[in-house]
Symmetry: C2
Subunit: 374 residues, 2 copies
Amino acid sequence: MGAVRLTTPLSERLALEVPIFQAPMASVTTPALAAAVSNAGGLGALGCAYMQPDVMRRDVAALRGLTRRPFQINFFVAPQPDPVPAAAQREAIDALARYYRELRLAPPEPAVAPYAPDLDAQLEAALELRPAVVTCHLNELPAERVAALHAAGIVVGGSATCVAEAKRLEESGMDFVIAQGGEAGGHRGSWMRDPQTALTGTLALVRLLVRRLDVPVVAAGGIMDGAGIAAVLALGAQAAQLGTAFIPCPESAATEVYRAALVDAAEDETSLTDKFSGKPARGLRNRYMRETAQGDFPRLPFPAQNQLTAKLRTASAQGGSPEFMALWAGQAVALSRRLPAGELVRELERETLETINRLEQRCVTSTPQRRHGT
Amino acid sequence: MGAVRLTTPLSERLALEVPIFQAPMASVTTPALAAAVSNAGGLGALGCAYMQPDVMRRDVAALRGLTRRPFQINFFVAPQPDPVPAAAQREAIDALARYYRELRLAPPEPAVAPYAPDLDAQLEAALELRPAVVTCHLNELPAERVAALHAAGIVVGGSATCVAEAKRLEESGMDFVIAQGGEAGGHRGSWMRDPQTALTGTLALVRLLVRRLDVPVVAAGGIMDGAGIAAVLALGAQAAQLGTAFIPCPESAATEVYRAALVDAAEDETSLTDKFSGKPARGLRNRYMRETAQGDFPRLPFPAQNQLTAKLRTASAQGGSPEFMALWAGQAVALSRRLPAGELVRELERETLETINRLEQRCVTSTPQRRHGT
């Protein structure tokens, strides 16, 4: 007699033992984190958005040294902005100068193009590395790219924040769609609507996508425990993707200042900001976010702004202050806990089963007479 | 052998046969709607926010002629703004003039104070009418008011959009808290934070409140079918409150233009606007919402602005156009359906039980070997 476990068609297809995806958070994931999640039966992930192919190869090799289980790698699909001449960066640099001064740093150098790794080169590396799953964020992937990944035996997904985006992903041939609800931390994946205003909550979005799509839906945003996982499974999602929940794990690359800010949060103290990277992302409100939200604070386009704020973020973390760091976090951040990633996955699984069991107990057999009228 | 039904401690306390609340939508509820929901075993509701005590008495009497089951009545708790002198209303009136002209109406008269019924008089009427449940929206109720309602045998609840607000309601002695998630249609209940930016999604908010409060939580926002109800029960909510889902019911007071706009919505086409009433509320985007979102469109404080827009909204509906109406709707509006309210409650119950059944089937007994490592 074996243990009870959770299955969905998608988790079966990916040979997972539990329908839990670790979100592929750029700069936070590590081979150790992904391996711990995959070894516990979930889908570990590497956020490769900012990685050159060499770094991808190194990290995937390290990950494969730690697990033989499936894992996900993720890319940002965002058009490179035209290079911004140094003179045209003056305003954005000057706006940051007082923060750099406050941390006793020289003002930032102008950002240098290219601002992000070449997506084609990243995708070529993915074809060669053959992870079980490749996902994209911030936009769709051309159908021929999806087909090439399929030809390499890779399962492909992408994230959507509305029905229209999800339909585009489905039409491109993707195997599943990640419903990124408004609760989610980090960069908003919206590309067909204004990410600052059209934030559809996870509950509404997951249900809309499940009802409108033929491919499986993975739910993301605000899920921190087994009750949240059971909830999205009830909505028809075939897996839950958790980001914030995995950041305090000892295997993540998060600084201690970041971890502490997450586990100390008392409730939803998050907002969107586009002043760290150039694109709206959800994080814990700190001084930088509050002050740069005022007026028309100048910034470079995504992802060039990342370069301008890099040293500020690093110095803030090194100085032990959360005030100038990008503290990406979802709206349920106050439910954060510090557990090793494998233990967390097992605990999430246990809680989910317990929640389903509790739900069953809400169903009782009543006496025959019911339905009153007058 | 009786039928299977859903119970929670709160639904038992209120003698409901199913843990479904109809939201007390001001101007949309009717005695017929509330009675149909209550007779089907849920908690029907009258939105009394804009009702003078006389109208409350009339509607409650009509409702009691249609059901002997429990129901809810709801009030807005918002301080009356100081009367705005007619001259100071010029700008807000002029801003609306072109819309009035377009509908061949004379420009609106200045709003006349008092702008809303007297809350004390409404609460006195509630004490006399003794509905099973009284809830408040937009702010907390003083503890002595809650105690007075309790003394009359009334169960009391209030709505919160964050943990801090929910704690205040709990401390005032309320019996339950309605978690109004960001998905919810109509007026945002926030009073301790900025309702325009701090929109915590239903999934995150419900779970946060369930984990942080001792009193039961009722979930609201984005719930349109049994999958949504099962999801919030999984999160630990003891009832689901649905608003948008009940608007297309033939028993509601909604105009046909409003109903058609809801059932025709293809996805989340909602936004927040404060240009109809003076307070941010979620509704289907139409021309009025889009155009008045630009720049600093002048408006009167809540609820005085309601008076300035009243004739515009009425004429728009009468002319068969949704473009100048307040089409309050939640983010899952695209799942709207036209069913009589009693049938809808029974269908929601059936779907919820079916969802829980499907969730159980996600749990399988596996073979003993599991948990891979390397």
